[in-house]
């Protein structure tokens, strides 16, 4: 965990006081809505269909148990007793009242969390691998670099009014769990032939109405040059990015229009002018940030302790263990994913009670640390294997041990028309219905890894373009329809899905998805061939023929 200092605490307290004053002036009429709206957005406050929504940043998806417990308190005291974890590793409260927002924000600020820069045309929460610092094979802990970017970008005066919002993601592992190729800037930590630490830099990825996979602009950037190079990117974007059309304002449009080579040349020219300036990081600066990350004091344990071996005689535990427990870099320990996708529940939602259970379990078994993944699940990154049986029993009792991680019912879904003022169609009920169809664990295990992503509009908050099966809600003559894509993926081989065919009605979606899955089961080369690989091998045509013949 990163330890905030007095500067951070004072800054947040001042920010809450400022917002309290702004809310007071708005309620008294001293500020008009036009004046107030940009101020509330800068603090993560949106107005949705039926209430205000507060989006809280969870920097690089890392929380301590006190912070999660405080979120549970806010959910219970100021909202309707639950929160929604998002694809940007944030949490949203959907029913918060404007006149109570300052109090809620003050409660959150006491534990170092806030909504600053979770909206607006600025650099948003920097996201990373939820297994950071725990998974084997990392080149470094990517959160250190995310924290450096957080400090650099927070209230950066030059980048507070960018042409459009700006999202950065970092990974340091061979498997990309941070979807870096579909971010404005994607950073992959690695080492060059000389063994030096640096970043592969991708720019111009993104989803929304014009999706692109990011383009490589620099294969190796020395790590200590990160800030100056990011500043060069931001300056080129700030100067040349379009401001005349909101739909063409993201950096991906600029990179696409002028080409990655030309964009890279402009960045390199800017970088040459500033790379030896104030943003060049010294070893001491990096070490100071690194030193404020406190790592668990792992006990010397061995893999497969007797407690685990005994528990593996229980079939239900075996199923959960095989699905939700992952290899840790330290012997005798494990990474545990906590599914927030119980069949039939809204994906990514957790009740205040569940948040408190997870916080308590993190205290007892996980060195007080919790992570949020972009797949809308939680994670305890550091658990002793001997504690897994007790952890599982407690999670199971709280409805948090559904063994469906990476299965078809582990669906990423945006809030959709049930909450969002921008949406055209619902997403959550579609996800619930599909999950119910595949509730049988043997069946979903037999299908294997299959990511379904659902967005309720073209803004693509549910990342439908990169779902193995992507579902996009559209509106036709006042009715909800859904376009289906196949073959998208968000990992290190990121690619956009291919449209399967004409959109189908809300009622037809679950049947269609069943037909797609049945077709896969028939056509796959064997149980080892994943859905995404079958689609890659055969294309969408065999699926299209089969599915549309049936509908």
């Amino acid at each position: 965990m990163y330890v905030y200092d007095e500067f951070d605490r004072a800054f947040l307290a001042e920010r809450v006081a400022e917002f309290r004053d702004q809310v007071g002036r708005r309620l008294s009429g001293a500020l008009s809505e036009d004046e107030f709206k940009p101020l509330r957005l800068m603090n993560g406050v949106y107005l949705q269909l039926h209430a205000y929504m507060l989006r809280i940043a969870i920097p690089y998806g890392t929380l301590n148990s006190d912070q999660l417990r405080r979120m549970a308190y806010v959910a219970r005291r100021y909202d309707r007793g639950y929160g929604h974890f998002t694809t940007r590793q944030n949490i949203q409260f959907n029913w918060i009242k404007l006149d109570e927002l300052p109090e809620a924000m003050a409660a959150l600020a006491e534990v170092g969390v806030h909504g600053i820069q979770t909206s607006g045309n600025c650099i948003r929460n920097v996201t990373t691998d939820q297994w950071a610092g725990a998974t084997p094979g990392e080149y470094d802990d990517p959160r250190i670099w995310a924290e450096i970017l957080r400090q650099y970008s927070t209230l950066h005066p030059e980048f507070t009014y960018l042409p459009r919002k700006f999202k950065i993601a970092i990974t340091a592992a061979p498997q990309d769990r941070a979807a870096i190729k579909v971010h404005d800037v994607g950073l992959r930590l690695h080492r060059n032939e000389a063994g030096e630490l640096g970043f592969e830099v991708l720019v111009g990825g993104g989803l929304g109405r014009t999706p692109f996979v990011g383009k490589l602009v620099r294969p190796f950037l020395p790590a200590r040059d990160l800030l100056s190079y990011i500043e060069a990117i931001m300056r080129v974007y700030n100067q040349y990015g379009r401001r005349d059309n909101i739909y063409k304002a993201r950096i991906k449009i600029l990179v696409h229009e002028i080409g990655a080579e030309e964009f890279s040349r402009a960045v390199e020219a800017e970088w040459e002018a500033i790379r030896e300036g104030a943003l060049k990081m010294t070893d001491e600066m990096i070490a100071e940030i690194r030193g404020r990350f406190l790592y668990p004091d792992f006990a010397a344990l061995t893999d497969n302790p007797p407690e685990l071996v005994e528990a593996l005689k229980d079939e239900r535990f075996v199923t959960w263990h095989a699905n939700s427990v992952h290899t840790h870099k330290v012997p005798g320990h494990a990474i545990v994913t906590i599914s927030l996708k119980p069949v039939g529940a809204p994906p990514g939602d957790a009740t205040a009670d569940q948040m408190e259970v997870v916080a308590d379990l993190a205290d007892r078994y996980g060195f007080r640390e919790i992570r949020v993944g972009h797949e809308q699940n939680l994670c305890l990154p550091n658990v002793a294997q001997k504690d897994l049986p007790a952890l599982w029993a407690a999670l199971d009792a709280a409805g948090l041990a559904t063994p469906n991680v990476n299965h078809i019912s582990d669906i990423i879904a945006c809030p959709g028309l049930d909450y969002c003022a921008l949406a055209n169609a619902r997403a959550i009920p579609v996800a619930q219905e599909i999950a119910k169809r595949f509730a049988d664990l043997d069946r979903s295990r037999g299908i294997g890894r299959l990511h379904v992503n659902i967005s309720g509009c073209i803004n693509a908050c549910g990342h439908h373009h990169v779902g193995h099966i992507g579902i996009l809600g559209v509106e036709k003559n006042g009715q909800e329809f859904y376009q289906i894509t196949l073959g998208g993926r968000a990992d290190e081989k990121a690619q956009l899905g291919t449209l399967l065919g004409p959109a189908v009605s809300y009622e037809q979606v679950p049947d269609l998805i069943e037909d797609v899955v049945d077709t896969y089961m028939e056509l796959r080369a064997g149980p080892q061939e994943l859905f995404i690989d079958t689609v890659a091998r055969l294309g969408v045509e065999p699926f299209k023929e089969r599915v549309y013949a049936a509908h």
């Binding site: 708005r26 309620l27 009429g29 008009s32 809505e33 107005l47 949705q48 269909l49 039926h50 209430a51 205000y52 309707r80 007793g81 639950y82 009242k97 404007l98 006149d99 529940a345 809204p346 939602d349 957790a350 009740t351 028309l417 049930d418 909450y419 003022a421 921008l422 949406a423 055209n424 619902r426 959550i428 009920p429 619930q432 509009c457 073209i458 509106e475 006042g478 909800e480």
Partner: protein, 102 residues
Amino acid sequence: MAAPQQQKLKVNGPVVVTANRLTDGAVVWRTAAGGWSAELADAAVVTSAEAAIALLAGAQQRDIDAVGAYVAPVLLGADGAVAPGNLRERIRVAGPTFELPH
């Protein structure tokens, strides 16, 4: 899709003016008396673009009670009961279409 506030006004049937209450964001409807009500049944229903524009203009004069006012379709029952005219408005009246976590 552009939010209803940003769309060109089309009136093909009965409509109301709706907004969100400033203090808590709750859904409210413009009444014939020039106030706001949390009940759709209290809404002023008009049927022409001219009347809708006038109702909207009145609603937008003062933004301290409700914000984001726009014209929304409704359905009128045989008994005169007012019902929301599309899915978005049905959700605004009744809340999310699934059971909320509890």
